[in-house]
């Protein structure tokens, strides 16, 4: 299968590579760019572990062909922290015990990041709705909702 050239931005950095058309964005992020923060869960769009921001919208990277991202801006969980400073969501997840095994956490962080960027004052119902495509088998979700609310407060206080 002939490789095709792909140019995009990942976490602000330009990336240029040649890939086969059947590679998904998830595969390219993890296998070619060594960005293994984005997790490989169900591979079928049912778990949310592979969520990344594609031109600011959270999408499932396991269902997006990498070639579909030509010219796009992709942000993964590695792109949330600014220099040595964690994103307020990452701090809040840590403080609130919103992560146990941690496998779902990058997907939750990315999805919550998109929500708070769009709705900084999101209500609990809006948070639950926005995160309803992300599965967590450890926390029971309540700590996750609390962490997103705490991050929203911190962002508005800054």
């Amino acid at each position: 299968m002939d490789k095709v050239r792909l140019a995009l931005r990942v976490n602000g950095e330009p990336v240029d590579l040649a890939i086969a058309p059947n590679r998904t964005l998830l595969e390219v992020l993890r296998e070619d760019l060594a960005l293994t923060g984005t997790k490989h869960g169900c591979e079928l769009g049912e778990c949310g572990a592979c969520a990344v921001l594609l031109d600011t919208r959270p999408v499932l990277s396991c269902l997006v062909l990498a070639l579909e991202c030509e010219g796009a801006d992709v942000v993964t969980v590695e792109g949330l922290a600014q220099d040595a400073r964690l994103d307020p969501l990452q701090e809040a997840f840590s403080d609130c015990g919103a992560t146990q095994c941690g496998y779902c956490t990058p997907g939750f962080l990315i999805t919550a990041k998109a929500l708070l960027d769009e709705r900084p004052q999101a209500t609990r119902a809006e948070i639950a709705e926005a995160l309803s495509g992300n599965l967590c088998r450890c926390t029971g979700y309540i700590q996750i909702f609390e962490a997103v609310e705490q991050a929203a407060r911190r962002i508005s206080d800054e």
Partner: protein, 347 residues
């Protein structure tokens, strides 16, 4: 890691370009819109196209206009439909259906055209290649002599129509434009569907769904969905209802559609019998009992099939009561929860 098979990839710049690429590509060419149905099917080898024609950069396939008639370009994302205040105000059935498709993450990429063409589903088919091979392939292939695991004595596929938007849009009287290199044609949406689980669409492989148009008639509409979880799941039952009430509550038009209980969205023929009547308790219960007889759920999706059939009657009754203006807190438990979930989330 499940990887899709090999294929060539063409990025269409216009709809005409996509139509030409599809026509040249032959029967194994597929359109790639959101990809949220196609890519999993390719990973599980339910579909093995040799050419994907990407619509990602075809801007003319996106957008909603509500100006009398509502026109939605087929490449509009489901999220854009959910967030459209005009759709929410004018066509609640479509808003509610779109709001309950899959999850927010999927709705960001999935398109309306894609959901209308979503593949039929079956517990014995939506499995990995190895799983299907281990029990013997069903009659959907890839070998020619498979059997139906749901109804082994028959020779047809009973896979379930699993679109949420299709029942809602059929209830709203939507029409569809299909484009190919030969030109355009315009059909009522219900004619897109063949009653065949293995070959669920009547459109030719080289035709592209380009737009969906909903007439401007004033109707009240709603959509009720049954699924195990409040997110992600495909419908185990869908009930879409649209009525046009005239003076004194006399119904001037009614279209009630059942989803996920057959291989196609099922426009209930008795809808016509509601015309000229008012929605009294007796009329609603008589209609719900008759309409639910058309629901023939099989043991190929979530929940017990007999229970799904009983819920069809309850949802038909609940949807009509909702359109009549009843207070959902007076509904039976499951109908109450479904109605309140619609209201809590989306109103």
């Amino acid at each position: 890691m499940m990887r899709a098979g090999r294929f060539r990839y063409h990025v269409a710049s216009t709809v005409a370009d996509a139509a030409a690429a599809l026509a040249d590509g032959g029967p194994h060419a597929r359109l790639l819109a959101g990809g949220t149905d196609l890519i999993p099917n390719m990973k599980r080898r339910q579909d093995t196209p040799d050419l994907l024609v990407s619509l990602r950069h075809v801007g003319e396939l996106r957008g909603i206009s509500v100006n009398g008639e509502t026109a939605i370009h087929a490449g509009t994302s489901l999220d854009d439909i959910v967030k459209s205040a005009a759709i929410r105000a004018v066509h609640p059935a479509l808003h509610r259906a779109a709001s309950q498709i899959a999850s927010p993450l999927i709705r960001n990429t999935a398109t309306l055209g894609g959901n209308l063409c979503v593949d039929t589903r079956c517990n014995y088919y939506n499995q990995t290649f190895e799983w299907r091979k281990s029990i013997g392939f069903c009659l959907r292939g890839p070998v020619p002599d498979g059997i139906c695991w749901v109804a082994p004595s028959g020779r047809r596929c009973w896979a379930t129509a699993s679109s949420d938007s299709a029942p809602a849009l059929i209830a709203l009287g939507a029409r569809l434009t299909l484009l190919s290199r030969e030109g355009e044609r315009d059909i009522p949406l219900e004619e897109l569907y063949a009653d065949d689980g293995a070959c669920p669409l009547t459109k030719r492989a080289d035709e592209i769904v380009t737009s969906i148009r909903i007439p401007s008639r004033v109707v009240r509409s709603t959509y009720w969905k049954l699924r195990r979880r409040g997110s992600i799941d495909f419908p185990a039952l869908g009930v879409a209802a649209a009525i046009r009430p005239g003076p004194h509550g006399v119904i001037e038009d009614a279209r009630i559609v059942l989803g996920a209980v057959a291989s196609h969205p099922l426009l209930v023929p008795e809808s016509q019998l509601l015309i000229g009547r008012t929605l009294t308790d007796n009329v609603i219960e008589e209609f719900a009992e008759g309409a639910a007889r058309h629901a023939r759920p099989l043991d190929n999706t979530d929940f017990a099939m007999t229970w799904r059939k009983s819920v069809a009657r309850s949802f038909l009754s609940g949807a009509l009561r909702e359109l009549r203006g009843d207070d959902p807190s007076t509904f039976p438990l499951l109908a109450r929860e479904t109605a309140l979930r619609n209201g809590w989330r989306f109103e």
